[in-house]
C-alpha cells in the first residue's frame, strides 16, 4: 500500500491554443490570395492585390454611394404576400423568412434618398443574398415608387442591379414587374429626368431584360456577368463551351451595350459627374 495515490485522471486533449481566425480571412476568387477581411472592406470590397470586385450587400452599396453613408430609406416595410402560395422543396414563405434573417431585409432591394457629392438623388440597390436578388412584386413596387418619387421631386434615379432575374416563386406576377417598371421608366423619359443603371455581378434574366438595360447611361463594374440567358442555359442549348469572357462587362462594352465600365473606387465620383451633365443647376 502506498501512501500517495496517483489520481487516475482521464487523458485530456491539450487546450486549443490556435488564435481564432475563422471568418477574419477571405480568399480572392481571382488571384487566390489570402486577404484580411478588414482590408477588403476598407477597399470597398475589392481585392487590394488584384482589384477583383467582391459582391457587395445592398446596405454597403448605399453607404458607399451616399455622402457620409447617410440616406433616408423608403418603403422598408413592403414585403411579399406570397400571391401563389408557392411551394417547391420548401415553402416560399420559409425561404422569405430565412432570407429576412440572413439579410435583415424584407425583400431584395433597398431604396433611399440621400446626397451624392452634395446633390440629392434616389438610389436603389439590390441584395443578392435575398433569394438571389430576384425581382418579385415587392422589388417591382419599390422601384416604381422610386420612379414616382423621382418625378414628384424632379430627382435623378440610380439603380444598382445585382440579380439572377425574375423571382420564380411569384410566377407571372414577377414577369409583369418587368412591364410595370419599364412603363414607369417611360414616364421618367417624358419627365426628362436622368436614370442611371449600374450593372454589377451578376445581372441576368428579367432584370437585364428590363430596367438594367434601360438607363440613360448603362454603367457596369469590371468583370460583372451580365446577360439575358445564364451561361449554363446557353451551353445546354448550343451544346458548346462558351468563349472566355463571354457575357462579362468587357464583352458587353465591346458589343455596344454599355456606356462605360467604372471601377468601384471611381463609381461615386463618376455618377456625380454624369448627373451634373444630365441635370445641371
Amino acid at each position: 500500500m502506498t501512501w500517495f495515490r496517483k489520481e487516475n485522471r482521464p487523458l485530456e486533449a491539450p487546450k486549443e491554443k490556435r488564435v481564432q481566425t475563422e471568418g477574419l480571412w477571405t480568399k480572392c476568387e481571382a488571384c487566390k490570395q489570402a486577404l484580411w477581411k478588414k482590408d477588403v472592406e476598407a477597399n470597398l470590397h475589392c481585392c487590394p492585390k488584384c482589384g477583383y470586385h467582391f459582391r457587395v450587400s445592398a446596405r454597403a452599396r448605399l453607404e458607399m454611394l451616399f455622402d457620409g453613408g447617410r440616406y433616408i430609406e423608403h418603403d422598408a416595410r413592403l414585403a411579399s404576400s406570397d400571391p401563389l402560395d408557392f411551394k417547391d422543396t420548401k415553402r416560399y414563405r420559409e425561404r422569405l423568412k430565412k432570407a429576412e434573417i440572413t439579410t435583415g431585409l424584407k425583400d431584395a432591394l433597398i431604396t433611399g434618398e440621400g446626397m451624392i457629392e452634395g446633390r440629392p438623388a434616389l438610389v436603389g440597390a439590390m441584395e443578392f443574398q435575398f433569394i438571389g436578388g430576384s425581382m418579385g412584386a415587392v422589388v417591382g413596387e419599390k422601384i416604381t415608387r422610386a420612379i414616382d418619387r423621382a418625378i414628384a421631386g424632379k430627382l435623378p434615379l440610380i439603380i444598382v442591379s445585382c440579380s439572377g432575374g425574375a423571382r420564380m416563386m411569384e410566377g407571372a406576377i414577377s414577369l409583369m414587374q418587368m412591364a410595370k417598371i419599364s412603363a414607369g421608366l417611360a414616364r421618367l423619359d417624358e419627365a426628362r429626368l436622368p436614370y442611371i443603371s449600374v450593372l454589377t455581378d451578376p445581372t441576368t434574366g428579367g432584370v437585364t431584360a428590363s430596367y438594367a438595360m434601360l438607363g440613360d447611361l448603362n454603367i457596369a463594374e469590371p468583370g460583372a456577368l451580365i446577360g439575358f440567358a445564364g451561361p449554363r442555359v446557353i451551353e445546354q442549348t448550343i451544346k458548346q463551351k462558351l468563349p472566355e469572357g463571354f457575357q462579362r462587362a468587357e464583352f458587353l462594352l465591346a458589343h455596344g451595350m454599355l456606356d462605360a465600365i467604372v471601377p468601384r473606387k471611381e463609381l461615386k465620383s463618376y455618377l456625380a459627374r454624369a448627373l451634373r451633365f444630365l441635370q445641371p443647376g
Binding site: 423571382r167 420564380m168 407571372a172 418587368m178 412591364a179 412603363a183 431584360a209 428590363s210 439575358f228 442549348t237
Partner: protein, 322 residues
C-alpha cells in the same frame, strides 16, 4: 375528349417529326426539340384515350396542350381571321427574324398591324422559325412595325406563342436583353389600341416583349409563365422530374392568371381544344377580338395611354409588415 383516332394521329405525327429531327442531326436546337417532342409523345401515350379538356385537368396537361403540334400557329390565325395580309420583314439594323412575323392586314373593315411569334409545323419549318424563339432582331422588327402602326393610326394585334427568347451566343452579342427591355419601355408610349392574344405558349420575357397592351386575351389552354416548368423544376428541385409540380406551382393557366388580374379575358376553346378545330377556334376568337378593338377605338389616345399606364401600375401584390 379527344377521339382515339385523333390521338393516334397526333402520336404518329410526333413520331414522324422526331425521326425527321434525328435525321437532320447536327444542330443542337434540333436535338433539343427532338427531346421535347419525345416528352410530349410520352405524355400523350400515358394519357391514351383519357385527356379531357374539362375540369380535373391539371396545369401540366395545359402545358402539353399549349405545345400541341397541331395547335393553330400565328400564321394560321392570320389567314383565318384577317384578310389582305402583307408581311413586313427586317429590323433595318441586322436582319429578318422568321420566328417573329409582322405585317399589315384588314380585320372587320379596319386596317390593323400584326405582330406574332411563329413556330414551324414540320422539321424544315421548325428550324427556319427557330422553334418560335426570336432573336433580338425579331423584337426590334416587332417594335418597328408597331411604331409604324402608331404613326399611321392602325390598332395593333399581337399573337403570342413562344417557348421564350432564344438563348444563344449571337442573341447575347446583339443584345437580347436590351431588345426586350426597349420594347417594354417603348410599347406603352404607342398612341393606338393594342390587343394581345396569348394563344399558345407565353414563354417569359420572350413573350412579354410583344405582350404589353390595353387588353390581354388568353386562350383557355394557353399557358403564360415566368419560366418553363422544366427549367423551374431543374432549378428549384435540382432535377427534371418535377415539371408537373412546377407547372401547378407556377400558376400558369389562363383561369389562374385571370383570377390574379394579369389577363383580362379567357377565350374559350372548342370542346376538344384549339388543335382539333382551327376554324372553330378562329370563329370563337373573332367576335371577342372585334369587340375588344371597338371598345378601345372609342377612347381618345390620351385616355388610352393613361389607362395602359394605370393597368401596368396596378400589377402589385404585397403586404406592409411592421
Amino acid at each position: 375528349m379527344a377521339t382515339p383516332a385523333r390521338q393516334l394521329a397526333a402520336q404518329q405525327e410526333l413520331q414522324r417529326q422526331i425521326q425527321e429531327l434525328e435525321q437532320v442531326g447536327g444542330s443542337a436546337a434540333a436535338h433539343e426539340e427532338a427531346q421535347r417532342l419525345r416528352v410530349q409523345l410520352e405524355a400523350l401515350e400515358q394519357s391514351s384515350g383519357a385527356p379531357s379538356s374539362e375540369a380535373g385537368q391539371d396545369a401540366w396537361q395545359r402545358v402539353l396542350l399549349a405545345r400541341h403540334p397541331q395547335r393553330p400557329y400565328t400564321l394560321d390565325y392570320i389567314s383565318l381571321l384577317f384578310t389582305d395580309f402583307i408581311e413586313l420583314h427586317g429590323d433595318r439594323r441586322f436582319g429578318d427574324d422568321p420566328a417573329l412575323v409582322c405585317g399589315l392586314a384588314s380585320f372587320e373593315g379596319r386596317r390593323v398591324a400584326l405582330v406574332g411569334h411563329q413556330k414551324g409545323r414540320d422539321t424544315k419549318q421548325k428550324l427556319h422559325r427557330n422553334f418560335g424563339m426570336p432573336n433580338p432582331e425579331g423584337y426590334r422588327k416587332a417594335l418597328r412595325v408597331m411604331q409604324l402602326a402608331a404613326k399611321f393610326g392602325m390598332p395593333i394585334v399581337t399573337l403570342v406563342d413562344t417557348p421564350g427568347a432564344y438563348p444563344g451566343i449571337g442573341a447575347e452579342e446583339r443584345g437580347q436583353a436590351e431588345a426586350i427591355a426597349y420594347n417594354l419601355k417603348e410599347i406603352p408610349k404607342l398612341r393606338v389600341p393594342i390587343v394581345v392574344v396569348v394563344h399558345g405558349e407565353g414563354g417569359s420575357g420572350g413573350a412579354l416583349a410583344i405582350a404589353i397592351g390595353d387588353k390581354v386575351l388568353m386562350l383557355e389552354n394557353a399557358v403564360y409563365s415566368v419560366i418553363s416548368p422544366e427549367s423551374c423544376s431543374s432549378i428549384l428541385w435540382r432535377d427534371w422530374d418535377h415539371k408537373q409540380e412546377a407547372a401547378r406551382a407556377l400558376g400558369l393557366t389562363a383561369e389562374r392568371l385571370h383570377a390574379l388580374g394579369l389577363v383580362d379575358e379567357v377565350v374559350p376553346e372548342p370542346h376538344e381544344g384549339a388543335h382539333a378545330n382551327h376554324a372553330e377556334m378562329a370563329s370563337i376568337l373573332r367576335p371577342i377580338l372585334a369587340r375588344s378593338l371597338i371598345e378601345l377605338e372609342a377612347l381618345p389616345a390620351d385616355e388610352l395611354l393613361r389607362r395602359r399606364q394605370e393597368r401596368l401600375r396596378k400589377l402589385a401584390t404585397f403586404v406592409m409588415e411592421s
